[in-house]
Amino acid sequence: MRSGVFGDYRACRRRTPEAAKEVSMRQELTKGFFKRNPVFVLMVGLCPTLATTTSLNNALAMGVAATAVLVCSNVFVSLVRNFIPKGVRIPCYIVIIASFVTIVEMLMKYFLPLQVSEKLSIFIPLIVVNCIILYRAEDFASKNGVVRSLLDGIGMGGGFTVALLLIAVIRETTGNGTIFGLKFSTTYEPAAVMTLAPGAFIVMGLLLALFRWRSLRKLRAATRPAASTPAEATA
């Protein structure tokens, strides 16, 4: 059904994680920000991404919470990876993640201003089912050492936070006319729909398209010299 450049693009996306062994520590840290961004490239953890990006403050709080859980669970899982029997590893990871989520939830309740923690309310316990965390535990931390898992957690969590902030800055400026709660213009009439559900979906769709457009363009540039016939090269 899907073919051509798009098919190639999917295939090369699938191939990337296998190269994990050869990547340097530095790449381990930076891959989450752009090349394998959890939100725009891997497309995991969509629910909190859309729900908490109504303002930059909420997005930052959510990003930090998820990063904290991700780093802790990555380190812990990689520490105990040789003791967990293969058959029950997923329930074990879920319990580990749930414990860290509970800790983060309690900390946030005490330290965050009420309006932020109220807005995030249900999405903090829902970090448990955030696919990024289980995915990194299963795909990375269970196969790699502690230091690499720590870097991976920071990188992936950072990439998640950056993605949230990117969506939030668009939604807050257009929908509320503010940046971090401060009004930036007296003449701009905010379009409230951008902070509501429809705005979230549309901004997310456009950003995904932008990311995909970039990868497609890069892929085309990479494959063009290799094309055998001139007809293909100009296509």
Partner: protein
């Protein structure tokens, strides 16, 4: 009765899990490309959500919340019944309950209703990580605006699933048509799905006036 009706309308349309609460987006995006797949996923989610609402509400009322009966019985004289175990154990308990429930449902269905199992089978394991199920369980218990009775919680769980199914079915109809259109390459697949969802959410905003 009027109260139950208000809950049904609110959770199915006004606060639709997908289109206004952003719960269960991963299955919504990933399995809404064909109508029969969307229907299967929707039914499986509705089933698990109803069961999970029942079990988690019981657990919350009798074990986890402050002043729960079991805590009073076991730990009378200490401060545990007063504080409750909810803050410490709720997240872990609920997710484990949902995971084991999904397993149980799977085994039960394979033995008793093989036809239904064959049509839903592949969707069942995915439901554990569907945040709509855990989300609704939390909305039924500690995150409820006002405490819900067991019956109200089960009804809310069931109709949250129906709302999810409605959104899935609508989306699958849109996507089956989108496939025949010449969408720009960068927008094909997920991006255009999100934009279509946004337009659908815009329509669902109209229900908010009913509250």
């Amino acid at each position: 009765m009027g109260n139950l009706f208000a809950i049904i309308i609110a959770i199915t349309f006004v606060n639709n899990v997908v289109l206004s609460q952003f719960l269960g987006l991963c299955p919504f995006v990933n399995s809404s490309d064909k109508t029969d797949k969307a229907f299967g996923m929707g039914m499986a989610v509705t089933f698990v959500m109803t069961m999970a609402s029942f079990v988690t509400h019981l657990l919350y009322t009798y074990v986890l919340r402050p002043d729960a009966a079991l805590l009073k019985m076991l730990f009378s004289g200490t401060r545990i019944p007063e504080v409750g175990l909810q803050a410490v154990l709720q997240t872990a308990t609920f997710i484990l309950v949902i995971a084991s429930l999904v397993q149980l449902v799977e085994i039960f269905m394979r033995k008793t209703i093989p036809a239904l199992y064959r049509s839903l089978g592949i969707f069942l394991p995915l439901i554990t990580t569907n945040c709509a199920v855990l989300g609704v369980a939390l909305l039924n218990t500690s995150y409820a605006a006002e405490p819900l009775s067991l019956a109200q919680a089960v009804v809310q769980g069931f109709f949250a699933g129906i709302g999810f199914t409605i959104a899935m079915l609508l989306m699958s109809g849109v996507r089956e048509r989108l496939e025949k259109l010449n969408v720009p390459e960068a927008l094909r697949g997920t991006p255009i799905t999100f934009i279509a969802t946004g337009l659908m959410a815009l329509a669902f905003l109209g229900f908010a006036g009913m509250g």
